[in-house]
């Protein structure tokens, strides 16, 4: 079965794809920290920060439509949080944007700031995942000191989430093929719990088989991997440009706009 993988563009080739995963990850971390630390009245600065991930997405040939679709998928929780702000903070505030001046509330400002920060950091995250192969990302994270157990867990999660989704689809199809009428809430719930149970037992089976496959190939608890990462001049150039961009916004633009 074919899935709309979140990393489906990670196998393309572009200058961004060729960058070292460690450099990209560190830049993402710093960028996210800076965006999150912006004060709630900094909507105009947020717009400036958005230039970064947009540039990466465009240079990495990642369709913006794909990026926004992914953001929409994870947005409900943040949207509920953001839209609740105007309800509890109605302090009036005057907002000025160029020649336009209007009255609003702190709640609405906070709401737009949350949505803006979420969108921009998600864009940056999607830019990283869509331009970096997952194995390179894992190798990079391991190099950066993330515990090995976590790396192994992430590797397995990435490898088997699609197998699990396939199995869930098969079970749902089998149910749809035999469910010819509405069963009522209670029986639907009973069926759903049986399906979840079946999925769980099959997952345990799979885990046992994977354990056998690993031991059969000499696994003794130590995770060994050949690192193929290499810092080159273009990585240093990217790091320099990213630092210049973020530092510039942080030190120069922020005081002017505030």
């Amino acid at each position: 079965m074919h899935h709309a993988h979140i990393d489906k563009f990670a196998y393309q080739d572009s200058p961004i794809h060729r960058l070292d995963s460690r450099v990209k990850f560190i830049v993402l971390l710093v960028f996210t920290a800076l965006v999150i630390s912006l004060p709630r009245t900094s909507l105009s600065i947020l717009a400036c920060y958005a230039v970064g991930p947009f540039t990466i997405l465009v240079l990495g040939k990642i369709p913006l439509r794909f990026a926004f679709k992914q953001i929409l998928l994870v947005s409900p929780f943040v949207l509920v949080l953001a839209l609740s702000c105007p309800l509890y903070d109605k302090t009036p505030v005057t907002v000025a944007f160029g020649p336009f001046v209007w009255q609003s509330t702190v709640g609405w400002l906070r709401c737009f700031t949350i949505i803006g920060k979420f969108t921009i950091t998600m864009l940056a995250l999607i830019a990283l995942v869509s331009t970096t192969r997952f194995n390179n990302l894992l190798t990079g994270l391991q190099w950066l000191g993330l515990p090995k157990v976590l790396i192994i867990q992430l590797g397995f999660l990435y490898r088997y989430i699609f197998v699990l989704i396939d199995r869930a689809h098969h079970i749902l199809r089998a149910r749809a093929g035999r469910k010819l009428r509405s069963l009522g809430f209670k029986r639907e719930l009973k069926t759903a719990s049986a399906m979840l149970g079946s999925l769980f037992i099959r997952s345990i089976d799979t885990a046992e088989h994977i354990n056998i496959a690993m031991q059969a190939r000499g696994f003794d608890g130590n995770w060994r991997c050949l690192s193929k990462l290499q810092i080159r001049q273009c990585d240093l150039l990217f790091a320099f440009i990213a630092t210049f961009f973020m530092l510039g916004l942080h030190l120069l633009v922020r005081p002017v706009l505030q």
């Binding site: 490898r159 799979t206 088989h209 190939r217 000499g218 060994r224």
Partner: protein, 241 residues
């Protein structure tokens, strides 16, 4: 020269007390291609697990003259590579390269040796161009070939394969037969696909209800229609003609 596999009166019971294998006695020479035949639930997969030291029963199991015990387990698993029924269980790393390199790295080979082994194994199964692909981007036949490559990279003397022809179309099944025929290793193939077994094996071991029912020349056993029918199997088309 020691035998590749030497099993003497091996029995195994599942934790609930059901007998899975009873009094199995089997001897396989190096270089032989053996088909383990039997209906579903005959004990074929359990016997393969016993050969790789994954289950403990009563009796003796020697792999290349090494008795299966904790001390010898690492040597045995370098000598005997086992390929599981479902390639998705066999391919657990994020990329094909990492998966094929997993075994050689655990053997303690140097980075250069590992790279060479991976390249050779992928070349043998015809997946040299796919090294950087994630396993979930491979087709069923490519996954099967990749699973075999993960074993070949460890250069074992013996390879056990559990239902390797499962979910393969005829063309890919023929490709797999060609690949397995060309391997110099001792092959033990558990299958209930008689045509697949007939195309590969020179010797057949028929298992049913955990016991060896027949052992000998593959063509002779597989052409015995009464024996085949009695044990839920069939005479392969190639032999019938």
């Amino acid at each position: 020269m020691p035998k590749a596999i030497e099993i003497d009166s091996f029995s195994y019971e599942y934790p609930d007390g059901t007998s899975a294998l009873s009094e199995i006695t089997l001897s396989i020479k190096h270089g032989q291609k053996v088909a383990l035949l039997g209906p579903n639930g005959a004990g074929k997969s359990t016997l393969l697990l016993a050969m790789a030291g994954f289950i403990k029963g009563t009796g003796k199991v020697l792999i290349d003259a090494l008795q299966i015990n904790r001390k010898n387990l690492k040597k045995i698993r370098t000598c005997l590579g086992c390929c599981l029924e479902n390639p998705d269980d066999q391919l657990f790393m994020p990329t094909l390269f990492d998966d094929v390199a997993f075994g050689p790295l655990n053997m303690g080979l140097s980075a250069e040796q590992v790279k060479q082994r991976v390249a050779e194994a992928l070349e043998t199964v015809g997946l040299a161009e796919m090294a950087d692909k994630a396993p979930h981007h491979l087709s069923a036949s490519q996954k099967r070939a990749a699973a075999i490559a993960t074993i070949l990279s460890m250069a074992p003397k013996i390879i056990t394969l559990d239902e390797p022809d499962g979910s393969l179309d005829p063309r890919n099944r023929n490709n797999l037969i060609k690949l397995l025929r060309g391997l110099p290793q001792t092959l033990i193939i558990a299958t209930c696909n008689m045509n697949f077994a007939a195309a590969l094996a020179e010797r057949a071991v028929l298992l049913d209800k955990g016991r060896i029912v027949a052992d000998g020349d593959a063509k002779k056993i597989m052409s015995d229609s009464q024996l085949m029918t009695e044990h839920g199997l069939e005479v392969p088309g190639a032999i019938r003609e």
